[in-house]
């Protein structure tokens, strides 16, 4: 496949497990073994209690649309206006993503609508987590 025109992430030792996970179809968060705080983005310690005793938690992939904008300026990786979204994951953390399998309009993108993760192969060893409305045909 052709390589994505997106700006692609360069994993670091602290984030490699996340990007290995997306390639395997898993959305990997982290959870503190001491205080049970679930967090994102990745780091090898708990941002709530500073414990280094943390483990990977595979997320359900379910979330809701917390906020977004629809960018109207042209971007080489997108055809026409596209939404940049903030997704509230079921486990608590929030992440930026795109909403796929859905019109990129205010009417189609209703706040708090349920979403499910899907992974897009960028053609360069990186699979990006994206979200699609639950029940939408994909």
């Amino acid at each position: 496949m052709t390589e994505s025109l997106r700006t692609l992430p360069v994993p670091t030792p602290e984030t490699q497990h996340f990007w290995d996970g997306t390639r395997d179809g898993e959305l990997r968060l982290q959870q503190c073994s001491d205080c049970q705080h679930t967090y994102f983005p990745p780091r090898p310690f708990c941002p709530q209690c500073s414990s280094r005793d943390v483990r990977i938690l595979v997320a359900s992939g379910r979330g809701t649309l917390e906020s977004y904008v629809i960018n109207h300026r042209p971007h080489k990786a997108f055809d026409g206006p596209y939404a940049i979204a903030l997704v509230a994951l079921e486990e608590g953390p929030r992440m930026m993503s795109n909403i796929v399998g859905c019109e990129q309009t205010p009417e189609a993108l209703q706040l708090d609508m349920p979403l499910q993760v899907t992974f897009e192969d960028t053609g360069s060893d990186i699979h990006l987590p994206m979200f699609t409305p639950t029940g939408a045909s994909s």
Binding site: T7, S67, V69, H72, Y82, M96
Partner: protein, 378 residues
């Protein structure tokens, strides 16, 4: 009272489009104007602070041999943090006269340093792949959440720009001076839904500089001193997606109350307010996080013309980043307007300004700096 005062303040001679000056010369032009305002030469300055360029570059370029240097760079409010740090340095005797400079060739891009996000940084990995194109697509992201949670209408967001244009219409140095209506704002080009062009800041060239000394020396300068009554600072996150609460800035909520407590003032003491307005929602967040309005009530407060000319809380009286100027790091211009209002030299002068509160943002809700300026030493 911090025991420190502003004794020199100036912007670049020109504002707007300045293709014949590089970024470092914009710093220098503002610095030279501020030194002239204070009756000082470079040899009189022994403390330097700047952001956007390195303090090393500025000290060398201007001919300053500092004993105190601050290069804190947390975005557009960095200069507010410099003021706070200068207060501590002046009071501890690390230096006696501090110059804080800003210069930015935001529009013309002459000699400007880039600020691309490294693809291995957290924002490079977890935000940039999804297509953000700078502040208009990032800073704006929390607003739909605010609108749904508090029932803010698009017309209310638009009113922020309308009110600020009223102030700008009285300011000959403002980039945009023609009055606009809510309908004009909503009919302007969609940039990033729900933000229209007129709800986004300008992109211009310019600079500004402040000179600070201890208050016990401040009466010896040509201009009436403007006293630093209180300061506050904080940071939250380099990633808008990781804000603690999409409807409130944690950094505002820390820095603002800290500055007011430092100044020993309450809301009713504030005669004039500046809230850094890179986009139309910032004054709304600022009014609520500072405690001037309850949660969800700032849109109605602005809609009712309370921050407009003649209102109870004049805000962003230079026209703000939406209408006056915005080079990229606007915080310096907000403080310049606070100084002018206290001195009584503003283009749209408010009557009897004794206390001016100035709140700045850095990054996209990433940082905050707050300075309370006062006419009296306290």
């Amino acid at each position: 009272m911090t025991g420190v005062a502003v004794v020199g303040a100036a912007e670049t001679t020109q504002l707007g489009k300045i293709p014949d000056l590089s970024q470092i010369q914009l710093h220098a032009d503002a610095a030279l104007n501020a030194m002239a305002d204070a009756g000082l030469k470079a040899k009189d300055i022994d403390g330097i602070a700047t952001a956007g360029s390195r303090p090393t570059d500025l000290a060398h370029y201007l001919g300053i041999t500092p004993t105190w240097v601050d290069g804190t760079a947390v975005g557009g409010c960095s200069f507010m943090l410099h003021v706070r740090h200068a207060v501590a340095a002046l009071n501890s005797g690390q230096c006696s006269t501090v110059l804080i400079t800003h210069g930015e060739s935001g529009r013309s891009g002459i000699g400007r340093e880039g600020f691309a996000r490294a693809p291995a940084s957290l924002s490079g990995q977890f935000e940039m792949p999804y297509g953000p194109m700078g502040p208009p697509t990032l800073f704006t992201l929390p607003v739909l959440r605010y609108m749904k949670d508090y029932g803010m209408r698009p017309e209310q967001l638009a009113m922020v720009a309308v009110v600020q244009r009223q102030w700008a219409s009285m300011n000959p140095r403002a980039s945009f001076q023609e009055l606009i209506t809510v309908e004009d704002v909503l009919a302007s080009k969609m940039i990033a839904y729900p933000f229209h062009l007129l709800e986004c800041c300008l992109v211009t060239d310019g600079g500004g500089a402040l000179i600070l000394t201890r208050a016990d020396r401040a009466e010896d300068f040509p201009q009436p001193p403007v006293y630093i009554s209180g300061t506050g600072e904080s940071v939250e996150t380099p990633m808008i997606s990781q804000m603690q609460d999409l409807t409130s800035s944690r950094a505002f909520s820390v820095a603002g109350p800290a500055a007011m407590a430092d100044a020993k003032i309450t809301h009713s003491d504030v005669d004039h307010l500046m809230v850094y307005d890179a986009f139309a929602h910032l004054p709304i967040y600022g009014l609520e996080d500072l405690g001037f309005c309850k949660r969800g009530e700032a849109p109605d407060f602005i809609w009712a013309q309370n921050t407009a000319p003649g209102g109870s809380l004049p805000m962003n009286t230079n026209g703000g980043g939406l209408s006056y100027m915005h080079s990229g790091m606007y915080g310096m211009y907000a403080m310049q307007e606070s100084v002018r209002q206290i001195r009584g030299t503003a283009a749209a002068q408010v009557n009897d300004v004794n206390i001016s509160l100035c709140l700045g943002v850095g990054g996209m809700f990433g940082a905050a700096g707050c300075v309370v300026f006062a006419k009296e030493p306290g």
